[in-house]
């Protein structure tokens, strides 16, 4: 016999099943290429193009060995990427943190216009800017230099980072700074001892976004760098030449590029949720 209570419970269970199914499907659609790349990178050369694709195979690390040991291209590319993304992140923070604070707290002429401009500059398609950037860098002799690429990457990361920092600073109650002022702290002391420690989480998240943006960036890197300075997303294409396509090492490198990003994103997720104003204001 079915009572109304058990019908409702059954309905709830059915809804939960549907939800879970939808969730898993979405995840799978997103994850499919990633899984494909990971699997391919561990497949023996002969297994890669079998049809139907092999789901069970004996894994091998030969492609990783080839990518990292046989050619110096990839290791150098990773080194370049680390250097470019690291410096881009550092410089971005040096600009975006104080700028975000100013936008969040200080009223000055054209504040809204300026912050809006920062946003629309983000909307311009990068492909449209590549010619002017190329000219600027070639005129200033900065093609194939780290400085040039970092400068261009910062044009991508800075506006967004400022916006991100603005939201973190706006979340802080102004009473925190007012309290510090009454307590006798100078604006600098207030910023470094009260405000900044409270938004470390936000700074961390901003840093991660800037780093990933620069780390992943391909279009500018491929045009503006040369053999000395090319980053790993560019370097990876040395495996795909007109003569042959080395899918194994290519995917192995791909996994190596993705891995830190995915790990960092998982870490950042926790940071973002935690929020850093914990307990600053009412419970």
């Amino acid at each position: 016999m079915s009572t109304p209570g058990s019908t409702i419970a059954a309905g709830k269970r059915a809804a939960a099943v549907v939800k879970t199914a939808l969730f898993l499907t979405t995840i799978l659609i997103w994850a499919f290429p990633v899984i494909w790349v990971i699997m391919t990178s561990f497949k023996a050369r002969t297994d890669i193009f079998t049809l139907p694709p092999k789901i069970f195979f004996s894994p091998t690390v030969e492609h990783y060995v080839e990518a990292f040991l046989r050619s110096s291209d990839i290791t150098r590319g990773i080194g370049n990427s680390l250097l470019v993304a690291g410096l881009t992140t550092l410089l971005t923070l040096l600009i975006a943190v104080p700028a975000g604070y100013a936008f969040a707290r200080v009223t000055f002429r054209f504040r809204n216009q300026m912050s809006f401009f920062a946003l629309i500059s983000q909307m311009a398609p990068p492909i449209g800017l590549i010619i002017p950037y190329f000219f600027i860098l070639s005129r200033t002799n900065m093609l194939n230099t780290y400085t040039g690429l970092i400068a261009i990457h910062m044009s991508l990361t800075v506006p967004f980072s400022i916006w991100l920092m603005i939201t973190y600073f706006q979340d802080l109650p102004t009473s925190l700074e007012e309290s510090a002022a009454i307590d006798g702290a100078s604006p600098f002391t207030t910023f470094f001892r009260v405000v900044l420690p409270t938004v470390w989480g936000g700074v961390g998240v901003t840093a991660i976004f800037a780093f990933i943006e620069s780390w992943n960036e391909f279009l500018y890197a491929v045009v503006l760098t040369g053999s000395r300075t090319k980053t790993v997303p560019v370097a990876i294409f040395s495996f795909l030449t007109t003569e042959e396509s080395l899918w194994g090492p290519f995917t192995a490198t791909g996994v190596s590029i993705m891995a830190p990003v995915i790990l960092v994103a998982l870490f950042a997720q926790r940071q973002m949720i935690k929020g850093m104003t914990l307990g600053a204001t009412k419970g």
Binding site: E178, S179, A280, K282
Partner: protein, 366 residues
């Protein structure tokens, strides 16, 4: 220890006046409460005293010093914010030490001051915790501790209890007053809760739309409100207001409205004599309406019949909503009164406590 004087203080945000011609002398050691509805400019007034907002015009003195152009840190004040504004990344100890460190007080003295203050506020067990690990009441105490630790001349409180639950609020209210009696530091306390104002203030300032309505001792404000606004704002349930007309009735006066004809006590007639034939507003506090059958109410001067609509039992009292013609009235009765919804009851009003207001200006006539 210091008195605080505000003289013709005005504050505009852009073109909008938020505090208007505010003049007040706050005595040394006084506990003054600013009360008024949301947005009436209480916080702004407090922040002007703190120096967190700049004056548009007027003068503020703390002690005998004109502080108009003095930075908040040099005004010798301490402020407790509604959200406490504890530094989230610092321990309770460091929160309390911060202002002393900024003033370059030697470490040993800071330590002693913190021990002393934290014992006084019973937070000495919490010194190593971060604000996020404290309950609301504990945060409140830490915020208090942070402000009293450097012995300021004036305490400024902006709705410090409004984030606490009802029970804790009442407990902290008493604790705050006790603390004030101990320290006797001048305090300005902002709240929108009229009950909090009534119970805490040596004097209360009722504000509306940036203007002081009345400044006086709580009982005086309650018993003798200067206008309709104050009469309606102070007291809960709030005063009953009835549009009425003043009529001459032989040699006595009465306030009349449909279904009600209340005789004005002889001693007070002179005050409304000039209003005969004109409209006015009658104000009756709920506790001044009783049952006609109740012997304790025999000094009543006027009676009326009303239909009971709702009866709320609050344990210590019964709040009765009744209807006379088109008017609804609220009465506060003895908790043991037995009344049923729909019942028709004889009520009586103690007329010597009734107020009459000018209908146009809202000024109190009697």
């Amino acid at each position: 220890m210091a008195e605080v004087i505000l003289r013709n203080v005005c504050k505009l945000f852009g073109k909008v006046p938020v505090v208007r011609d505010f003049s007040l002398n706050i005595a040394d050691g006084e506990f003054l409460v600013l009360v008024g509805p949301s947005g009436c400019g209480k916080s702004t007034t407090l922040r002007l005293v703190a120096g967190l907002e700049s004056l548009s015009s007027g003068e503020i003195y703390i002690g005998d010093r004109l502080v108009n152009d003095i930075h908040p840190r040099d005004r010798d004040i301490a402020m407790v914010f509604q959200n406490y504004a504890l530094y989230p990344q610092m321990t309770v100890y460091d929160n309390m030490a911060f202002s002393l460190k900024m003033r370059k007080v030697p470490k040993r003295e800071i330590d002693q001051a913190i021990r002393r203050t934290s014992e006084l506020l019973r937070i000495d067990q919490l010194l190593d915790r971060k604000p996020g690990q404290l309950s609301g009441g504990q945060r409140q105490r830490v915020a208090l501790g942070r402000s009293i630790i450097r012995n300021p001349h004036v305490f400024l409180f902006d709705e410090p209890l409004s984030n606490l639950d009802a029970k804790l609020r009442i407990a902290m209210r008493a604790e705050l007053l006790e603390l004030h009696q101990r320290l006797m530091t001048t305090a300005i306390y902002v709240t929108h809760d009229q009950l909090e104002a009534m119970t805490m203030g040596d004097r209360i300032v009722v504000m509306n739309e940036g203007v002081i309505q009345q400044v006086d001792h709580p009982e005086t404000v309650y018993d003798h409100p200067v206008n309709l606004f104050v009469a309606g704002f102070i007291g809960s349930p709030s005063m009953n207001f009835l549009d009425c007309r003043i009529l001459q009735n032989g040699d006595s006066l009465c306030a009349a409205t449909d279904g009600l004809r209340l005789k004005i006590p002889a001693g007070k007639q002179a005050r409304v004599q000039s209003y005969v034939g004109r409209d006015a507003v009658l104000g009756i506090r709920p506790e001044h309406i009783g049952l006609a059958s109740d012997p304790a109410r025999c000094d009543c001067l006027a009676g009326f019949t009303a239909v009971v609509r709702v009866v709320e039992s609050a344990g210590s009292e019964k709040i009765v909503h009744a209807r006379v013609e088109d008017h609804s009235l609220v009465a506060r009765l003895d908790p043991h009164t037995r009344l049923k919804t729909g019942e028709t009851v004889e009520f009586a009003v103690r007329m010597e406590t009734v107020h009459i207001f000018d209908k146009v200006t809202g000024q109190t006539l009697m």
